[in-house]
């Protein structure tokens, strides 16, 4: 009995000893929080929960990541909060590009690309042009022909203002040189999709992942992708460029992780090294693929470059507004 107690005591000391040795100055020492600026159940929230589910693994952060939803005003509430949050390395945030960059150019918010430091990108959801399944339009040429015959008469829905869909709409208008009637929906992407299916509008800009699902359900046709390349989910749908419209990937909805500016460089470097490997986990990839969410992993340097490009493109595009 005595021996057993002594053994247990020894084991206990050993355990605390190793715990202290590992924990000394090591980041992270406690669970990390990831702020998502959209409500629970939204696409960003859903994907954030999947890509962070392996954070507790030993080869990842070794600490779980908890999701904190701060929704409101199209993401502005959450990003305003993150810009002023404590830069201690335990407060991360999810970004949506072009949304937050477009909003900061529009003004009235407390953040810009300088307020945050990117860590890594996990997903890229391009915008696509959809029409109802029974629509007479079968290509973007049909759509633009109608718009040319009825200037300002082609109604099409999207998730709101200063989001990827709005950027895509502006690009289309500019590239085709016609006036279109973009109808922002107050119920987000789902509301915009409903408007297309119900025939309230002639077409719509929507997320590739949602449009793919709607096409599987047989309710819409997808006419074009607002990206540089075709997408594996719908490789039969041509890009806008292929159909003769000079539209790049500025409207693609990039999702990833960032921290408030001022976070310790050592912590940023650690996260930038670990987080992309966390996204590459096989379990994460299979869950994302099952849900129809396109993944696109980018490291810190690539995201920095992408942010800088978007800043320039969006400033030019939104200057006319």
């Amino acid at each position: 009995m005595k021996k057993w107690i002594a053994g247990a005591a020894l084991a206990l000391t050993a355990m605390t000893g190793t715990a202290m040795a590992e924990g000394h100055g090591d980041y992270p020492e406690r669970p990390v929080m990831l702020m998502v600026s959209y409500g629970a159940g939204g696409a960003t929230d859903f994907q954030a929960r999947i890509v962070t589910m392996t954070a507790g693994n030993e080869d990842a952060l070794n600490m779980p990541i908890a999701i904190l939803n701060k929704s409101g005003a199209g993401g502005r509430v959450g990003w305003n909060w993150l810009a002023q949050a404590e830069a201690d390395g335990y407060t991360l945030g999810a970004y949506n590009v072009p949304h937050f960059i477009a909003q900061s150019i529009e003004g009235g918010v407390d953040y810009s690309t300088d307020s945050f430091e990117p860590i890594a990108n996990w997903g890229a959801d391009p915008a696509v042009f959809v029409v109802g399944a029974d629509s007479e339009f079968n290509s973007m040429a049909d759509v633009i022909a109608y718009a040319t015959a009825n200037p300002g008469g082609l109604t099409f829905s999207g998730a709101g203002l200063f989001v990827g869909h709005h950027i895509a709409a502006l690009q289309l208008e500019k590239a085709a040189g016609v006036e279109l009637a973009y109808i922002p929906n107050n119920a987000g992407g789902a509301g915009a999709m409903r408007a297309v299916i119900a025939g309230e509008v002639l077409g719509g800009v929507n997320n590739l992942s949602d449009a793919f699902r709607a096409r599987e359900a047989g309710t819409v046709k997808i006419l074009g992708v607002f990206d540089l390349e075709r997408n594996a989910f719908i490789d039969d749908v041509p890009t806008m460029m292929e159909q003769g419209y000079e539209i790049d990937n500025a409207s693609v909805n990039y999702r990833g992780v960032m921290v408030p500016a001022g976070t310790d460089q050592a912590i940023i470097d650690h996260l930038a090294a670990v987080v992309p490997t966390m996204f590459e986990n096989g379990r994460v990839a299979s869950r994302m693929a099952a849900g129809g969410s396109p993944m696109h992993i980018m490291n810190r340097a690539e995201v920095q470059e992408m942010w800088a490009q978007r800043q320039v493109t969006l400033e030019a595009l939104l200057a006319d507004l």
Binding site: G41, K70, G160, L161, A181, P184, N186, E200, E216, G292
Partner: protein, 503 residues
């Protein structure tokens, strides 16, 4: 009859255990102020990662069903509606609890919930294809008229006078304009960083209903404590069943209004209870009793908000469009297992979708049984001394508001709206029309703006808002509703405060 074929799947030990867990957990979480059905279901999503698809959905379906009914517990006992769906339940339910009839109120609310809920789920089972076209019939113009119909309810809802009802409705409509406007991108009335995202509906609900209560309880709490204690009447369950079934009118109106309105994407769940309450009040020969602890008020409101559960999933399951925030969360629960909702769902994954729907059927019955079991002792909450009660309610109010967005800003909004409401109530204004204004404002405005934008690009505003039988039907109901209010106002002299009216 596919649903009968898969009924056995619900009763395997693991599945039934999950069903029980979802039902009881949902009831407890639903009864907690601030945890709306959407949040409760979202909280349970991570647990479904590790479960098989049908097991995960059984858990979520049972939780969704019982949180909606659980919201009635705090609405009746504490006058804190857990979600917009339970606002109408406070009007008569809490008055009943104050009279010592808390047990009865809880029992009839659970029975009415189960009946409405079962009806709604049966609609989902048998009429899904028909209902899908109905869900698509409501475009911007129809939703605008529907919101206007809701506004006409404001004047007659729980107020001593139509003018005061309309005034508090206007305050609500103004509060709804605060924040970023989704359609035009404008920033309006953002005078403090707490309201930069607009007024969040849950903290507003908690503040407007609970805080005036708390202040009143603190004010009265110090004087003669012993005399204040209410005798809680026991109420046999059999009598509760007889009570519910003898109020057929309220039950029928609640169930049908809830099922129809529940179908309309984005609007249904929030106003189904209030519209059903108002309709059964207008059609009842005893309309004067509403608001004074009349069981019909509780029956109409609760049967309506549970009847909406089944139909609210129709757009998701058939068209792959989530019609409500809760449906969006459930979509996540399906997608995580690689299941895409749509017309092929029922043929491709019958082993998932039918147990899910069955779990909502069985969940309704379990929820009712469990609810009836706890109703007796839960009603004893009314015996807690006022000063203690006030502290508990205040604590729950702060906790509930904070938990919505982990933000102190929401707590400040809750506290300031509540304080303002205390003074407004003293002048005969009431919280229900104000909240209705807050809910309807954005619906009416956004749909009018969208409709106007579409109309300008196509046929013109007059043609857009005044064509189609559904538009005209809604316009006719609006006119009838206003006419009825005017007639009632002229027929009977109104009183300055509710106390005078009931005295």
């Amino acid at each position: 009859m596919d649903f009968l074929y898969y009924m056995g799947d619900v009763f395997t030990p693991i599945n039934f255990g999950l069903l029980l867990l979802g039902t009881i957990g949902g009831l407890i979480l639903g009864a907690t102020p601030g945890l709306s059905p959407t949040m409760t279901v979202a909280l349970m999503i991570p647990f479904t990662f590790k479960l098989a698809p049908e097991q995960g959905l059984i858990l979520l379906g049972a939780a969704y069903t019982s949180t909606v009914a659980g919201g009635a517990v705090s609405a009746i006992l504490l006058k804190i509606p857990g979600a917009p769906a339970n606002i109408a339940t406070t009007l008569d339910g809490h008055t009943m609890a104050q009279k010592g009839e808390g047990a009865k109120a809880l029992q009839i609310s659970f029975i009415a919930s189960a009946i409405g809920g079962l009806f709604g789920v049966f609609l989902l089972i048998f009429l899904t294809p028909v209902l899908a076209t109905w869900a698509l019939a409501f475009g911007p113009s129809e939703l605008f008229w529907l919101a206007i119909l809701g506004v006409t309810v404001i004047g007659t809802l729980d107020s001593s006078s139509v003018v005061k009802g309309l005034l508090s409705g206007c305050i609500g409509l103004w509060l709804a304009t605060i924040g970023f406007d989704d359609i035009m991108g404008a920033q309006r009335f953002i005078f403090h960083s707490s309201v930069s995202g607009g007024i969040n509906i849950i903290p507003a609900l908690i503040g407007l209903f609970a805080i005036p209560q708390v202040i009143a309880m603190f004010a009265k709490g110090r004087s003669n404590v012993d005399a204040e204690i209410i005798v809680v009447q026991r109420h046999p369950i059999g009598a509760a069943f007889r009570e519910v079934f003898s109020r057929k009118r309220a039950l029928a109106i609640g169930t049908s209004v809830g099922s129809i309105i529940g179908l309309i994407p984005g609007v249904g769940g929030q106003i189904a209870g209030l519209v059903a309450y108002d309709q059964s009040k207008k059609m009842s020969p005893e309309s004067g009793k509403f608001g004074t602890g009349h069981p019909e008020g509780v029956i109409a409101a609760e049967s309506a908000n549970n009847a909406m559960v089944g139909p609210s999933l129709v757009p998701l399951l058939t068209l792959s469009i989530p019609g409500s925030p809760t449906a969006a969360v459930l979509l996540g629960g399906l997608l995580i297992h690689g299941i895409f909702p749509g017309p092929s769902l029922f043929t491709q994954y019958p082993q998932v979708v039918w147990p899910f729907i069955n779990s909502m059927l069985v969940g309704q019955i379990l929820m009712c049984m469990f609810g009836l079991f706890i109703a007796g002792w839960a009603a004893n909450v009314a015996r807690v001394p006022r000063s203690v009660m006030a502290a508990v309610v205040l604590g729950l109010a702060v906790f509930g508001s904070y938990s919505v967005g982990h933000s102190m800003g929401d707590v400040y909004v809750m506290a300031s709206l509540g304080l303002a409401m205390y003074f407004l109530e003293r002048f005969g204004f009431s919280a229900a029309p104000l909240v209705l204004g807050l809910i309807l404002g954005p619906i009416a405005e956004a749909n009018f703006m969208q409709g106007a934008m579409i109309a300008n690009a196509t046929v013109g505003k007059m043609a857009y808002f005044f064509t189609g039988w559904l538009n005209w039907l809604l316009i006719l109901i609006v006119v009838a509703s206003i006419g009825y209010s005017i007639w009632m106002e002229l027929r009977q002299r109104r009183y300055t405060t509710k106390e005078e009216a009931s005295a």
